[in-house]
């Protein structure tokens, strides 16, 4: 009995030091093309944190209920321990690591798989935490230089758009089945990444970064077509999908500067990545080809006005010979304006210059009380039916949400 009292007392003491916070979100969406309810989700996220002098533990529990399917859900979010050593932070567990400088269109930010089942979901919530070892080394006290290394023992693929968001699929003639293979939990199948960053006293401040990642394409591609019945080569066929290896070489920068008498306090961000694959010449139709992507963004906050970010994105994709390589250009504009301490207006516009499609997302966020906010927004897709955004023409929707943080 005495022993139990001690255990309870210790447990109570431990719980008393646990930081508990969380967020309850309810979101509804109505598709404008047919006035059907396209979203009805309630999620409860509980964050637990425990801080020690030279270590910290963190765990996130996600509970959800989808009113459309009537299904509840539970998932473990980030759950990891960090030890703060003399010049190194070492984190082990289920976690999200963001690399790169540019928000949302970052070509270097590929370590975590994404849940794109609903492409309109909050991009930061789409990243799926995966088990990894993450070390950050700080050679100098001021933190001007940093070296990071990540090892993900087992590759986890991204989740493709589902339901009404699933893109149309056309199978090759004779194919009746599709099978997807995922690299197994073999030590040689792991994902590795290193990143070095440095800050310099140039103009109003310059950050540089370089990244090397050895991983897999997050979505599968065709590997081979085999007969469903191996004894009947003329019968129905099966398409085997798999994930190809890639080596991503990336570089990025952020530069703060001013143009005297014109604009004070601008930030220019840039990021570029080149993906090397096993088929650099595009000779093998069953192996992914190389690609490169570069993004430039310029941020400025207008006096008593909005914060604006203009983004330009250029992507090159090596085509299978003899087809011509493709170039895709996108232009984005992000703006947010605090009308007052309770009302914020946000807007995002992304336009594909190559196919004429785009997405427009205005949103109004209102804070009712501390930690309680509501939002109403609209997502409008436009462009030809077979274009990047036009494929979702029927999915334009009005969204309504309520959020309580504690």
């Amino acid at each position: 009995m005495k022993k139990l009292s001690w255990i309870l007392a210790l447990a109570g003491l431990a719980l008393a030091q646990v930081n508990l916070s969380g967020q309850l979100d309810t979101n509804f969406g109505v598709r404008t093309s047919d006035a059907t309810v396209s979203l009805g989700q309630t999620t409860l996220k509980i964050d637990l944190g425990y801080d020690l002098e030279d270590a910290a533990l963190k765990a996130t529990l996600n509970f959800g209920y989808d009113a459309l399917s009537g299904k509840p859900s539970f998932s473990l979010g980030e759950a990891y321990a960090t030890v703060y050593l003399n010049k190194m932070d070492l984190s082990v567990g289920n976690q999200v690591v963001s690399w790169g400088r540019v928000d949302y269109l970052s070509p270097e930010d590929v370590l975590n798989p994404k849940n794109l089942a609903r492409p309109l979901a909050d991009p930061s919530a789409q990243k799926l935490p995966v088990p990894m070892v993450h070390a950050t080394i700080y050679p100098d006290e001021a933190g001007m230089y940093q070296l990071e290394a990540v090892w993900i023992p087992k590759f986890t693929p991204s989740i493709a758009p589902q339901g009404a968001w699933a893109p149309p699929v056309s199978l090759p003639s004779g194919v009746t089945q599709v099978e997807t293979t995922v690299p197994g939990p073999d030590l040689t199948n792991g994902v590795f990444g290193v990143r070095a960053t440095a800050s310099f006293d140039v103009l109003d401040g310059l950050d540089l970064g370089a990244t090397v990642i050895r991983d897999y394409f997050s979505f599968p591609s065709a590997k081979k077509i085999v007969p469903v019945d191996l004894n009947d080569s003329t019968g129905p066929q099966k398409l085997i999908l798999g994930h190809d290896r890639r080596t991503l070489l990336g570089a990025d920068f952020a530069l703060a500067f001013s143009i005297p008498d014109v604009a004070e306090g601008l930030v220019l961000r840039g990021e570029a990545a080149y993906a090397l694959t096993d088929d650099p010449q595009g000779k093998d139709p069953f192996t992914q080809n190389p690609y490169a992507e570069g993004v430039l963004s310029l941020e400025y906050t207008w006096t008593d006005g909005p914060q604006t970010i203009v983004v330009y994105d250029l992507k090159w994709q090596k085509a299978d010979a003899p087809a011509a390589d493709t170039f895709t250009q996108r232009l984005g504009l992000l703006a947010s304006y605090d009308y007052n301490e309770r009302t914020r207006l946000e807007g995002a516009w992304l336009h594909n210059l190559s196919d004429g499609s785009g997405l427009l997302r205005p949103q109004l966020v209102y804070t009712f009380a501390d930690g309680v906010s509501g939002n109403i927004g609209f997502a409008y897709f436009y462009g030809p039916a077979n274009s990047e955004f036009g494929v979702y023409n029927q999915n334009s929707e009005v969204q309504l949400g309520l959020s309580y943080s504690f």
Partner: protein, 254 residues
């Protein structure tokens, strides 16, 4: 009669000029010792015209060595911004600012233009917060407008205008400085010549055996919108040893 009034006015101006100048008053304000390092919690209440209140809570570290100033702010409440951290490093007229957003798990270098933007929806700008320790008086021309009698005795009213070429958020400041303490109790902020905001400071507390006098209760009111922000400083620790590693990206993420 007009000549007499003019003469009286001139005598008044001369007597003020002989007694003390605006420059001297502001030099005495500047000469008051400022803590080299400070750590504390600030509770901010945003009160709108209808009296409805939102509360923000931040933890603040500041350090000043020579011409180098460092400031780190961690947001404690409300829960939806908890964990966000803001770092400002000033050196030799240059200032760099970084923001850590826990939802994005990323540290972003942010635009200097944000300095003039609202700090967490309050009536303070980022610039106001980083200048709470005091403005750079050599960047301004100071003119003594008048003296007043207040509960704290004689009060100097000084007009400070930025010198040509100085990047300043406001076109003019009018500062009320009690002779007894030389700690400003009221500042009017003007933009394009029009009164924009009024800052009142009170609950002046003494730290380090009276070496420092610091107002711990500030009220900033926007004259046009009638919106006000009450900023209360709690658990202040003065002149403590804060390692440089606190003002780093590593500490922002912890």
């Amino acid at each position: 009669m007009r000549r007499v009034l003019a003469s009286l006015g001139l005598i008044g101006v001369l007597s003020l000029a002989l007694a003390v100048s605006g420059e001297e008053v502001m030099k005495k304000v500047d000469a008051r010792p400022n803590p080299s390092a400070m750590h504390g919690v600030m509770v901010m209440q945003l009160v709108n015209k209808q009296g409805k209140t939102l509360t923000r809570k931040i933890e603040l570290w500041t350090k000043k060595v020579g011409d180098e100033e460092k400031m780190l702010i961690k947001f404690l409440a409300p829960a939806d911004v908890k964990g966000t951290a803001f770092l400002a490093l000033k050196k030799g007229g240059k200032e760099e600012m970084k923001l850590y957003l826990p939802a994005l798990k990323r540290i972003r270098r942010i635009a200097g233009s944000q300095k003039k933007g609202s700090f967490m929806g309050s009536d303070f700008t980022y610039d106001d917060i980083s200048n709470l320790g005091g403005m750079k008086i050599e960047d301004y021309n100071h003119k003594l407008l008048k003296t007043e009698e207040g509960p704290e005795g004689k009060v100097f009213v000084v007009e400070s205008t930025p010198k040509p070429g100085v990047e300043a958020s406001y076109s003019k400041l009018i500062v009320w400085v009690p002779e007894a303490t030389y700690v400003p109790t009221k500042i009017e902020f003007y933009k394009k010549g029009k009164l924009y905001k009024v800052l009142q400071s009170s609950k002046i507390e003494s730290f380090a055996d009276g070496k420092y006098l610091i107002p711990t209760y500030l009220v900033m009111e926007n004259v046009k919108t009638k919106h006000k922000t009450i900023l209360e400083q709690q658990d202040l620790e003065i002149d403590i040893e804060i390692p440089d590693s606190v003002f780093s990206e590593r500490f922002m993420k912890r």
